[in-house]
Symmetry: C2
Subunit: 385 residues, 2 copies
């Protein structure tokens, strides 16, 4: 019973019991019943003391600052009590650690590798992708359907929702099932219509090549929604590719081009009478483990390439190759969106495009909005509690 | 006269005239009147053709996709006409480049180094910082004062505004002189008051150690505003340090600790009944050139360190050193904020803190909000046009 510890919203199931603990000069060595051994440094344990003096029990936030504890502090004694690890510190403080929490935060090599392997990984897709379609009413009412939708967004990066009301503004209702909307200079909800005074090619009737939205910002929006209210015009089909799948294929087929797109940054620009955004970043971003984490791409928002004279031909070659791949049938999903349907996709992974449409043939009105990836991941964690 | 080219909102002054141009197999070699030589690859020039067929003149966005042009395309002929570089392409297209634009985008080594050197650099400060104070009425009315304020935010990262109305919500008026506000789970405007049911230590009367706000998000907010409406309580002085100055000092005084804080990521966590944010990132982020670009720090939002058993003592040593430096008088600016004053600072650079206050001694009410760095930089560019 760890009643003194501050309640968290997370639970840490008991994976294995604490079998024994050994006190060493710089660390404790915990032996688990399933055979794993986990060292914990004295400093780490003192830092993570969950007692109400160290963590404020209303906010569950730490009030202890480790710098206020001696850097050489060591445990005076350790023992296991009712399954918990108990530490008495030199100088008088004592700490009690729940074994489930301790195992979840163990940093021996095996525990760290296990957590890394357990992380969700993108499920890559191509033209044969079986598009996950969700029902609006179910998403609005049933938390489990909502969770399944959000997991599909996280893992596959492309979904459709059907049965959405076609009144303008309805999009906000479903977006708010996840969180508040991320505003941009185009508004909270933006209207995708052909306009005479367009401030982006998106607001024309042109063919739009495959792109991410707002590559001109430091953080591209995580999720993009496109909600069809009216679609009576000829043309204007939506096209999607899995940018991660293309990046992986490029890494296999042309590793040098892949390297160039990861390493040479490109400037994206978006400017109108009231704003002037510029962002220099590579087209393919990798995470700390070298995995593809983001695609940034919009030919119509790209500034002139800036690279050394030696690198410039390599950059053009790599850029052309990537664009050419986005045009290959093997990667492309093409589908016309009907009124009452919406696309929701990972804007940093799933590139989107549309065929040109003929505004003279009928009206076409989509509304869109953005939500950041932080909000998606937070909502998933809350729904999974 | 470059009348065929699509108008941009930017101007490119003529720095030096085009003296001559030489046609080589893979590039043109431009010789400028001031002696500089700039190579331009055929592919780069064709890609950047500013004619109305290649750039849509309403949106000023490119419609040409370079992949639709042969990778081996070369110029048939080149000449200089009325100061502009004119290229006739094999296959029939022709392009005309303004010499000011061309010089601004030249990518010879000298031109690139010149642009890199011309970029704004942070002005580091310490406890002797002469705080820039701006007058609310002037910011609301005079675009030049507004620009000076924004440049101070960009370059020094800490400013004060005085003469602000003390009605709740007034903060939004001044924030919107820059752009829309970035919403978070704490709202569009957040109220900093001591609350019984606080969902963050910020909403208690505690001492708060030096921190950045929302380190739990992928992109920490760029600007933070804190507006004082009422401050009758004893204590609660604001404390600021220039996190970039501390990072630079750490790099000089303890390069190994600096390296550890750049390389080993730390998880920040913020959780309540409705949200659960987590972000793994290093405390010091460097840009592509190795310069300090961001500090991420909030002890009360930090999760347990996760690093290899070998690295853990190094991480604690480095973290302790950084925190200890934030407490050194040489870096700290301490000042009490009065009603009608507000702090506006770079949340990714300037760490902020407050002394504990005594809620029994009187009321204390601040309002805050965030704006992203993209919006600050865009607004500066628009005001500089």
């Amino acid at each position: 019973m760890n009643t003194a510890a501050v309640a968290d919203f997370r639970t840490y199931p008991l994976i294995s019991a604490l079998a024994s603990v050994e006190l060493l000069p710089d660390q404790l060595r915990v032996q688990w019943a399933d055979g794993r051994a986990s060292p914990f440094h004295h400093q780490w344990l003192r830092d993570n003391c969950p007692c109400p003096l160290c963590v404020y029990n209303v906010t569950r936030e730490q009030v202890l600052e480790i710098v206020d504890v001696d850097e050489d502090l060591t445990a005076l004694s350790v023992h296991i009590d009712q399954g918990c690890l108990c530490v008495e510190w030199h100088g008088g403080h004592s700490s009690r650690f729940d074994p489930g929490w301790l195992r979840a935060h163990a940093y021996d090599d095996e525990s760290r590798a296990e957590r890394r392997d357990a992380k969700a990984k993108p499920k890559l897709w191509d033209s044969r992708f079986e598009l996950p379609v969700f029902d609006y009413a179910a998403l609005m009412e049933d938390p489990n359907t909502l969770l399944q939708w959000l997991l599909a967004l996280r893992d596959s990066g492309l979904t459709q929702v059907s049965g959405v009301p076609t009144e303008p503004g309805s999009l906000a209702l479903i977006a708010k099932r996840i969180s508040f909307i991320r505003e941009s200079n185009f508004g909270v909800l933006f209207n995708v219509q052909s306009k005479a005074d367009a401030d982006s090619n998106a607001y024309t009737a042109f063919n739009l090549p495959l792109h991410s939205d707002l590559p001109t910002r430091e953080l591209q929006p995580g999720l993009q929604f496109l909600h069809c209210l009216v679609n009576d015009a000829d043309g204007g089909e939506s096209i999607f590719v899995d940018g991660f799948a293309i990046a992986h294929a490029l890494r296999d087929e042309n590793p040098e081009a892949f390297r160039v797109l990861c390493e040479i940054p490109v400037e994206f620009r978006n400017k109108d009478r009231h704003s002037d955004y510029r962002r220099l970043a590579p087209i393919i971003a990798l995470d700390a483990l070298g995995e593809v984490a983001e695609i940034r791409m919009a030919n119509f928002l790209r500034g002139p390439f800036e690279a050394s004279v030696e690198q410039m031909p390599l950059l053009y070659h790599a850029y052309r190759r990537f664009i050419a791949m986005t045009r290959e049938d093997r990667f492309r999903l093409v589908k016309r969106l009907n009124p009452g349907e919406l696309w929701c996709f990972d804007n940093r992974r799933t590139l989107h495009a549309r065929h040109a449409f003929d505004p003279a043939s009928g009206a076409r009105h989509f509304q869109g909005c953005y939500i950041d990836r932080d909000e998606l991941l937070s909502r998933i964690l809350v729904l999974q509690r």
